[in-house]
């Protein structure tokens, strides 16, 4: 590799900033503060770091859909692109509050009531609010530490029947246990198109699961799944019930498929990559070529013992 011999060229501030941003944006869920500390130290350039942080944190917070406590016990606000009013202002539709956010510190410093212009029309709010209640119930049952929010994403000012509109459901659950060297996150986003003319609701769901285990190593799980479904346009309450049950159905099914992957993969993986001595039990140890007497030459292996011949034939058959 050329790096070692290359003359030491000092990187420009711009290059350093881009590198720092890359590291920050690739932090596993819940670990950006640890990454930030290390990046700052390897960068050794607080100016470049500051710029990188101010660009990377907002993007990371929104991608991870982090959840922040609003001050004065006003509940929580999810940092998502759906709720973004300004770079540091995020709407919580349930409480109609806007959280003022410090992205780099990942805290909500203040909150204010949302203005009428920032909130959906009463007609849309009826659908949104009914769905929020149903999703909240589902999340409370399915996720021990889940957070959810329902946003009006299109046609929030529609006053009554006759126009299309769109809602988005966001579900997030994160775990962070540095003492056990692991973190994990579940994120799902559901877009629901209310098609007034054909009286149909179309749902698009995207689920992502990540896990990181870093004791004596670095192992990461990264899964992604997208799906579609539809149902009929009904009253706000009935829409809410069918949407929540569709979400429940798909997420439960997805969890089932993850579990199936876990059941099938270890076998497949180790079969594909290596032999599991499981097949031969402990006796395989004795047959390994490093044992005394059979270490010297490959052709000796076949003469060494009948057991080895058995093994050889088993290998060929398989």
């Amino acid at each position: 590799m050329a790096e070692e011999d290359a003359p030491e060229v000092e990187l420009s501030g711009e290059q350093k900033k881009e590198i720092a941003k890359w590291f920050l944006l690739h932090s596993p869920g819940g670990e950006i503060q640890y990454v930030a500390k290390d990046v700052r130290s390897v960068l050794d350039d607080d100016g470049a770091y500051g710029e990188a942080a101010s660009e990377a944190f907002p993007a990371y917070n929104k991608a991870q859909m982090i959840c922040l406590d609003m001050p004065r016990g006003m509940g929580e606000v999810l940092i998502t692109s759906f709720g973004e009013l300004e770079e540091n202002q995020f709407l919580d539709p349930r409480t109609a509050q806007v959280g003022i956010v410090d992205h780099v510190k990942q805290v909500c410093t203040d909150a204010r009531p949302a203005t009428d212009e920032e909130l959906p029309s009463p007609y849309i709010e009826e659908f949104r609010c009914a769905l929020d209640a149903e999703v909240l119930k589902y999340v409370g049952e399915a996720y021990p530490k889940g957070v959810c929010s329902v946003y009006s994403t299109k046609g929030k000012d529609v006053e009554g029947p006759g126009s299309d509109f769109e809602l988005a459901v966001v579900i997030q659950a994160a775990r962070n246990s540095p003492q056990n060297f692991c973190t994990g996150s579940w994120r799902s986003v559901w877009n629901i198109e209310f098609k007034d003319d054909i009286q149909i609701l179309e749902l698009r769901g995207k689920m992502q699961v990540g896990a990181h285990y870093f004791e004596e190593g670095n192992v990461q799980l990264d899964t992604k799944h997208e799906c579609k479904d539809s149902t009929i346009f009904q009253s706000p309450e009935d829409c809410a019930i069918s949407i929540a049950s569709i979400i429940r159905h798909h997420e439960t099914e997805y969890l089932g498929s993850l579990e199936a992957s876990y059941t099938n993969l270890p076998d497949n993986t180790f079969k594909v990559t290596i032999y599991f001595p499981r097949i031969y039990g402990e006796s395989f140890q004795l047959l390994a070529p490093f044992s005394p007497g059979i270490t010297r030459c490959s052709s000796v292996l076949q003469e060494i013992s009948p057991k080895n011949l058995e093994l050889k034939s088993e290998i060929t058959i398989r």
Partner: protein
Amino acid sequence: MEAALGLMRRMPPKHTETALSALLSLLPRHSSDLLSQVDQPLQVLCDIDGGKEFILCEYNRDADSYRSPWSSKYHPPLEDGTQPSPELRKLEIEANEIFAIYRDQYYEGGISSVYMWEDDNEGFVACFLIKKDGSKTAHGRRGYLEEGAWDAIHVIEVGPEEDGTAHYCLTSTVMLSLTTDDESSGTFSLSGSIRRQMNMDLSVAEGHLCNMGRMIEEMESKMRNSLDQVYFGKTKEMVCTLRPPAEITQMRMPES
């Protein structure tokens, strides 16, 4: 340096190479430390003499060339490239032959290479490498996985012989990545590496190769268990903590 290694522990394993090259450009003075302490996915070249494939790593590199364990020639050719002593080269040839059998028995295919070099304190170091591609496109006999790779790196430092025994320090890294992709369950990717160390004082009566081989064999068996636990145990545990399986939720449903 500590911060750099901290970052490598957190970056997604599939981006190891990008992360490492970023660190190398930020910390050129630490390049040799970084290259020896951060394990990267193994690359392969073909020996010009025998046509046999060999594995590239930090330990068979000199400048921009890599020494093949089969012909001991550098690829691309390099005059005055570092060579082990004739005695050590003899052991290296033998180790490569035996390790190829070991690899064939345990891995049913794959590529292996062993490199040895003298170290500063009268002992020597040996590096045993195995690479196995288990993806659908690979020549492996069972391609269930969209993508699947197993890279094992075992570095053994062998101390000088004293009263018929020698000290062996084995540091092993296994990098395993697997991805499945299908319509019904989307993409599922598990990747990463684990590293373990083992120290032993052993009699050299049966020769260094026997001792090293048995240590590697024991280590690989331990690491398979660890991989099973970490890859398929710990990450599944995390998923089930985030969203417990249906049976548990259904049990709770009547109350709600």
